[in-house]
Symmetry: C2
């Protein structure tokens, strides 16, 4: 299907927008009037620039408050429309979006609306222009898509059709199945936006929270399916507004939008799910020596070294960490995901516009392809062959309390949070587990957990704005059979390695639950879910950008101890560690 | 009246909060439980620290989901409460806030709620503790303040009273007059928050948009008046949550809160309004030479020089600008406001915690006291004597088209936007004219206009987050009798001085109105209000952080041409200038 996007959906000047939209692979654009007004190029030059970039101009929008008005205002509105028709001819586009009137002066009379829209369509036809009439969710009288369609039917002009917008339909809770009652050729345009479910005024919701399909909670694919069933053959066109992309990189947002449409199209085709990772193969950390000490203390053993690179393999149970001594400050730099089909996973990622990273490869090295996660972390898809890169160490793999990697938490600039959700959902096939807001002493942290295969792969994406900057922390959570035993050993042998937890926390814990008093002595945190599942966890101090968490899940606990995160954040900030 | 604030209302660790709250002059605090849990100090030390700082601990909060529960849960909740009573004894506070139950499992039975709260009050009394029961606006069954009061009446225990919270009452649209029906001694506590009027879920509204009294749209003073009429004698205590202060400086937020309570108290006492400025005496700009050239081009004449400082007076009509060649980059550094009572204005500002700036003064200089606006701009209150500092220039004052300063626009970091509104409202006595959101190519700009004395003083405060940074632009808008005449002269004599305006803007203008085609030729912008008032304006290019606007108001136009601001922003960003 042809893919289009409204210029209002990305940041920048009109020309920057067109270039980014073309670079992301879109076929066409909707020109949003305000973008044009602020552009120093005359319409003819904008038309030529779009054509040079291979973009068609599919729609000009919006034309507001036209219909259902008294006669004198109609004359003024028709005069206004004539100006726009002339502009559209210069711009080389033949479809004008007319939004249902929101003015308090609009008259609630479908016959009047239809007659006036018919007049508009007649005038438009003289310029070879067609009119797509859309019900805004907050339209004064017409605010349901089937109502707009009734008005279009009443007007009965070949140059007048309707425009559907998934936000306006789904935000009102309207059932999109009614779309199938509209003849496909009378659906002149289809605009797509998703949104998180929020209880707020629909206009504010639309202006500040629209996102690309797959980033919110609407069933956009279902709505598109009904529209295709009706016989619609026009483009799928994105139209979003929110506070994030306005500050984000234009090309990155355009690519994010295109990824959303590609994933949507794949869903419509009933494409099989991507090769979902089956576990963590490894996490790779840049180190200057300090992380090696922490791993030793945690019971990890160095079991191998890369033949040609300053990279060491450290193991404990099924947890494999690579320490990379390339001189960078301690940080998580790469993740290896076990994949049933590494080549297929990379191909899938590539089809979703995830850049495949160039990689030097020595003749003996295993072939590993990596893609970049939204925060820049490299993601490798691997089978077992990557281990052969590392000369085996005679000490072998240690059998300590740690059994594997439970989850990995990355941070994300706040205006790329939606992008991250779509990336992990569509590229890696993870399923969102929910979103949280957590108070931090100096800001607010938003956190989103995603997982696959019953928790075999778990990722947490955090954004935090704290003062002027972002919290840069990342962490690797290690699954553990006996957190209390590890804590006992570490408190005795490595004082200062674990994050101290305030006694007041335990007073409160004791008020809520009857827990083992040893938790307090050992500084182990505790959570319980509604089904009685329990979570024991503790944290190391931070080294560079990184800290480790040890977690023990009991009785099917599926969360991340979010209730304890504000305590952890406060201690991390307080400098007690 | 005693003034208190909940620790949750400012950023930082608990100890940082207490220090900032004490420094701002509060008498007491509400300790918010999460702040305590994350604090490494035991309660006894927190108590001692507060006492050292001269703060009483007026309340411990919140205790949630206690009442209206089945028997087995009641036993658990009483056990939980016992732990909190012990904690409160260690902390040295005797009042516990109990919020109405929000749990879906709560039972809608006032007699049950009352009986259980009575039991709680009996247990609390054994520890010398009293219970303040509050209706949360989203409580499961009890969500109106008079309902909470009925439950308290039913329970009939001297240690049980009610807590009123202006947000919970006013957000539901409840009439606060009913407060007068509650005996004052049964109102155990009064929490104050304001909020902008927003159509959204009340829980989200409360969590993200509460602000200090005077920063929103609620009649908080009216509610307090009813509470005092009822006989309430406890503290006025602030409790706000929003996304701004979390990232803001702790001490600054505490001072902002105190300013809000001082202004509220003054309003309650029926204090006369502050000495409201009657006009702009001058605007002072740091300059390195370029601004002088711009002023010359605009028709300003240098009419005086300061005897001892590198400061020049430039005049045209009633517009007086000072150019300060101290070497700093071009920026607006100070405003002089004509005041009927300069000393009174400074005293008033000081009473509202606005720092009076230290100022060196030569023996012959006029006495001018300055305070700092929230963005750091110096504000002077003056009568005419300041002119005597400047040796008169024989050329005298020029009589050009410019007649005075129309308004001044300053920028503000986004998390101090509410503070700015309160400052200009309470310290300068300006009245808010409304708030706007304007799209910028790389972000979103929020703009608030305030004015006094029918527009004799107009200020616009802007915040903009664009990419990682803020837009730093400031501007001085000059009132002008004939903007077209000035534009004609400037376009001819000083090409490049005025901001170019895209032709597409004029195509649209022509579609909306029948305007003089000369506007397009001269690059003059146009706006019209609903009553036919008209606004002609144009902009100079930006020098350093500063640009000038020339404005002509016709027929009572009272706005700022906001519809044209996105055009201006786009051109300013595009580098066309």
């Amino acid at each position: 299907m042809r893919k289009s996007i409204a210029t209002v959906s990305v940041s920048g000047t009109l020309i920057e927008k067109l270039e980014a939209i073309a670079a992301a692979g879109f076929d066409g654009v909707e020109i949003f009037e305000n973008d044009l007004l602020a552009c120093s190029m005359p319409p003819e030059e904008i038309r030529a620039r779009a054509a040079d970039l291979g973009l068609t101009i599919d729609l000009y929008q919006p034309f507001r408050d036209f219909e259902s008005v008294p006669d004198d205002l109609l004359a003024r509105n028709l005069r206004r429309a004539e100006h726009k028709f002339q502009l559209m001819e210069r711009l080389g586009t033949d479809l004008l979006l007319v939004c249902s009137n929101v003015s308090p002066g609009a008259i609630g009379d479908d016959d009047l609306a239809a007659a006036q829209l018919r007049t508009l369509a007649e005038r438009a036809a003289e310029h070879g222009i067609r009119i797509a009439y859309e019900a805004l969710a907050w339209g004064r009288h017409v605010n349901e898509y089937l109502h707009a369609w009734r008005v279009v039917q009443l007007a009965d002009h070949p140059g007048l059709g309707t425009c559907l917008d998934s936000f306006h339909i789904l935000s009102r809770g309207s059932d999109p199945i009614g779309i199938e009652a509209i003849p496909g050729e009378k659906i002149f345009f289809l605009q797509l936006a998703d949104a998180p479910l929020l209880a707020m005024d629909v206009l504010q919701w639309s202006r500040h929270y629209r996102c690309f399909p797959g980033q919110g909670n609407f069933d956009v694919a279902g709505l598109v399916r009904h529209t295709l069933n009706a016989g619609y053959a026009g483009p799928l066109s994105l139209e979003v507004f929110n506070d994030h992309f306005r500050q984000a990189d234009t090309r990155r947002t355009a690519r994010d939008g295109m990824r959303s449409l590609i994933a949507l199209e794949a869903e419509l085709k009933g494409a099989t799910r991507p090769p979902v990772p089956s576990g963590f193969a490894f996490a790779e950390l840049a180190d200057t020596g300090a992380l090696g000490e922490v791993l030793s203390a945690l019971g990890f053993v160095r079991t191998g070294g890369h033949p040609t690179k300053p990279v060491e393999l450290w193991e404990q149970g099924g947890a494999r960490l690579l320490l990379n001594a390339t001189g960078a400050a301690p940080a998580l730099v790469a993740l290896g995901l076990e994949s049933p089909d590494p080549a297929g996973a990379v191909k899938h990622a590539e089809s979703l516009l995830s850049p495949v990273l160039p990689r030097e490869r020595a003749p003996r090295e295993a072939r590993l392809d990596a893609i970049a996660a939204p925060d820049g972390t490299q993601i490798f898809f691997c089978d077992d062959s990557w281990l052969s890169d590392f000369a085996p160490d005679p000490d072998g793999r240690a059998g300590g309390e740690i059994t594997g990697i439970d989850h990995v938490a990355l941070t994300q600039p706040w205006h790329y949070f939606d992008e991250a959700e779509l990336f992990y959902r569509s590229v890696l096939g993870l399923r969102p587990q929910g979103s949280l807001e957590l108070p931090d002493p100096y800001g607010l942290l938003r956190s989103k957990a995603m997982s696959a295969r019953d928790g075999a792969v778990r990722m947490v994406v955090n954004i935090a704005q704290v003062g002027a900057g972002d919290i840069p922390w990342q962490h690797v959570a290690l699954a553990c059979d006996g957190v209390l035993a590890v804590a006992r050993r570490l408190r005795a042998e490595h004082p200062g390695l674990l994050l101290p937890i305030p006694g007041n926390y335990y007073d409160d814990l004791q008020a809520r639950y009857e827990v083992d008093p040893e938790l307090r002595r050992l500084g182990v945190l505790y959570d319980r879910d509604e089904d009685g599942g329990e979570f024991l966890h503790l944290y190391t101090v931070t080294v560079g950008r990184v800290f480790f968490e040890l977690v023990q899940r009991i009785g099917g606990y599926d969360g991340y101890g979010a209730a304890n995160a504000p305590i952890r954040l406060a201690v991390q900030h307080s400098g007690d560690n």
